[in-house]
């Protein structure tokens, strides 16, 4: 008995719902004979700073395109944490994302894992052909292009214009300038860089090896090449910076921001960092505001310098149900207009030659000319799916060199031996 009223109410609700739903169907049928399709949503995972930097370009895209919309997920700030997040998602099989903004050092690993889709069928064989040649590096692996870059960043050398008449021409001059300023009490430290056991240290070592005429990776033999006298000289020089007090002992735990903070306090003569640091250092009111210059990284006397290529690019993830829509997003976000915005707002180096040739842009952003020069001598990290292991070995040994009495020859011999073991154990081929 007690159920009766509620059963009646349920029936009443049911009956009232039938005409309502039929009205909806009729209305839909009459008002729009050809219902407009739902816009496709392309899901994009990016590190947090890029979400902010690309927000205007994403908003413009969403306004301009009724049929495709971009939904951005804000990933972690840390590069490797973002890779871990993306890997976790990809390992589950169906990724929660269509596009991933990838660091250059992930390309081969992700491609070998089968997590990426080749871009040529969607963007054409010539997708990168018009880009600056050096910006095209690190996007292909095997026979395919897996990633389209939206920046052409390389590491740069920041120096104090109020303390020095000109930037150093080579590493020896840089060291002498730093020591002189330290001796005269003008700065506490000479040079700060990234010595923490992480990817940043691998970039520093790559640059240092090149600066002394050595190399990390032999593309022909498919082996690391760390036993050369040039490599030994490079690592000894790096370790001496810490041992002789040109760099602070704490540099062995410095990542980019730690080094930037110390340099921006005004107590350091030189800093190695990426282009984003320029905007932060130039901010009004800071202790070094208006007193910082920037130049491509220099080599040792008689050798050319070079900065690590640290570009970011968009990749299409395997299993994406909307590759065509995603390809349109890639074109838009790597296009000239978006990159122009990134030059203006963030100081990121573009990949399109037309932007380096734009007189107005160059006049407003003097960093652009330096970035183009730096890009000409950009250094690419080993392109192999085993890069993460090789980099890990190098970081551990060089960090050991910086934090203990380990002789450089032993650190390099261990790094070479362990790298050989990894390559042999996995039977890896050097190049695809």
């Amino acid at each position: 008995m007690s159920l009766m009223p509620s059963r009646r109410r349920f029936l009443r609700l049911l009956l009232s719902a039938v005409p309502a739903s039929s009205t909806l169907m009729t209305r839909q049928g009459r008002a729009s004979p050809a219902p407009s399709p739902q816009p496709e949503t392309v899901r994009l995972l990016m590190p947090a700073p890029f979400v902010d930097a690309l927000a205007p370009a994403v908003a413009r895209f969403n306004r301009a395109h009724g049929d495709v919309q971009i939904a951005v997920t804000r990933g972690p700030l840390d590069t490797e944490a973002l890779s871990d997040l993306a890997s976790g998602s990809l390992l589950l099989g169906a990724s929660a994302f269509d596009l991933l903004l990838m660091d250059i050092s992930w390309t081969a690993r992700y491609a070998a894992a089968g997590w990426l889709v080749p871009l040529e069928p969607l963007l054409g064989e010539e997708a990168m052909a018009q880009m600056v040649p050096e910006a095209r590096l690190g996007n292909a692996f095997g026979d395919h292009i897996w990633r389209l870059p939206l920046s052409g960043d390389t590491a740069l050398l920041y120096w104090r214009t109020d303390l020095l008449p000109h930037p150093p021409r080579n590493l020896q001059e840089m060291e002498a300038m730093a020591r002189d300023l330290q001796r005269r009490g003008r700065v506490r430290w000479g040079y700060v860089w990234q010595g923490r056991q992480y990817e940043g240290l691998s970039c520093v070592v790559l640059e240092m090896l090149h600066a002394f005429g050595g190399r990390w990776w032999n593309h022909v033999s498919g082996r690391t090449d760390l036993l050369s006298p040039r490599a030994l000289e490079a690592c000894a020089w790096l370790a001496n910076l810490v041992r002789t007090g040109v760099s602070p002992p704490g540099v062995a735990n410095f990542a980019e921001n730690d080094a930037l903070q110390l340099f921006s306090s005004g107590e350091v003569a030189f800093l190695r960092n990426w282009p984003y640091a320029w905007g932060l250092l130039a901010r009004e009111g800071g202790p070094v505001s208006g007193r910082v210059g920037v130049t491509p990284l220099v080599g040792a006397d008689g050798w050319a310098g070079g900065g690590t290529l640290g570009t970011w690019g968009l990749s299409l993830l395997a299993g994406s149900p909307r590759p065509q829509a995603a390809a349109r997003v890639i074109r838009w976000l790597t296009g000239v207009e978006t990159q122009r915005e990134l030059v203006v707002s963030q100081g990121y180096a573009p990949t399109w030659p037309s932007l380096y040739a734009d007189a107005d842009l160059r006049a407003a952003h003097p960093l652009l000319d330096i970035q183009r020069r730096a890009l000409r001598t950009a250094l690419v990290r080993p392109i192999t799916p085993l890069y993460a292991q090789l980099s890990d070995v190098l970081q551990r040994q060089i960090n050991g060199l910086l934090t203990s009495d380990l002789p450089p020859e032993l650190a390099l011999a261990r790094a070479q031996e362990q790298s050989d073991l990894i390559l042999r154990a996995t039977g890896a081929r050097a190049t695809p």
């Binding site: 890779s83 070998a112 923490r196 056991q197 704490g250 062995a252 050991g400 934090t403 039977g427």
Partner: protein
Amino acid sequence: MTTPWFSLVLMAPALLLMALLFVWPWLRYGWLSLHASSLLTGLSVVPNGGANWSRLARDGRFWVDALQTLRFAGVSVLLELGLGLLMALVLHRPSRGRGWLRALVLIPWALPGPVMALGWRWILNDPYGPINALIQRMGWPTVAFLATPSTTWFSTVVVDVWKTAPFVAIVLLAGLQSIPRDLEEALRLEGAGPWTLLRRLQWPLLAPYVTLAVLFRLAQAMGVFDLIQLLTGGGPAGSTESLALYAYLQAMRFLDFGYSATVMLASFFLMASLALLWLGWMRWQGARTR
């Protein structure tokens, strides 16, 4: 009337949950550790006999990390036990504002691990962290806490003790509170001081609580990950890398899932042996005092 069968039926839901949460993952790990699943196999799973286990036996980094993890866990847990006991004894004494004090003590334990690790990374920063600022103010040279193997290892232990000693304190406080007051009073009437009280009454009765706290903490310390990852990244020169961090690197960075499962399983066996050793020692102690 309870029969063994009836007990089993009653326990079935809990057993099923345990099997799902613990047994199944370990079976899966055991199976994966006998297979290759890496970039080389295109992430597909291919049987490789005991290759992962023989690699583990020859992998110097695994054994170094195992020793480092054991050292970290052993020293941290012992210090936490000592400090936790001290804190518990203070909190046990009737005093004004004891409730507030108990809540305050728990704050480090309540802080999320990553937030705490990042905070300490800044506190220990050379030269701008607050500790180094203080050192500089006193006219001494700064200390690169996180840039030499010895100071870094010590820093990780200090941070871990800071965070987890309150947990041990609360567990031991619960134990102290459970000791009947009249026993304490009787002993005091006999003229026992605080030391005798602790040695003769409190410590023996605290034994199950100590075991609980130690086992909990040992399991956590042996699996330490977030603190190390954020504070040192395993550096300098791998000197603070833990087994959990090594297994994580193998899986997430190197995409070698077969070997990562082997490392995880091996650290589980290591942890289980330690726990058994501790239980055995406590039993032996109990039997001896009886």
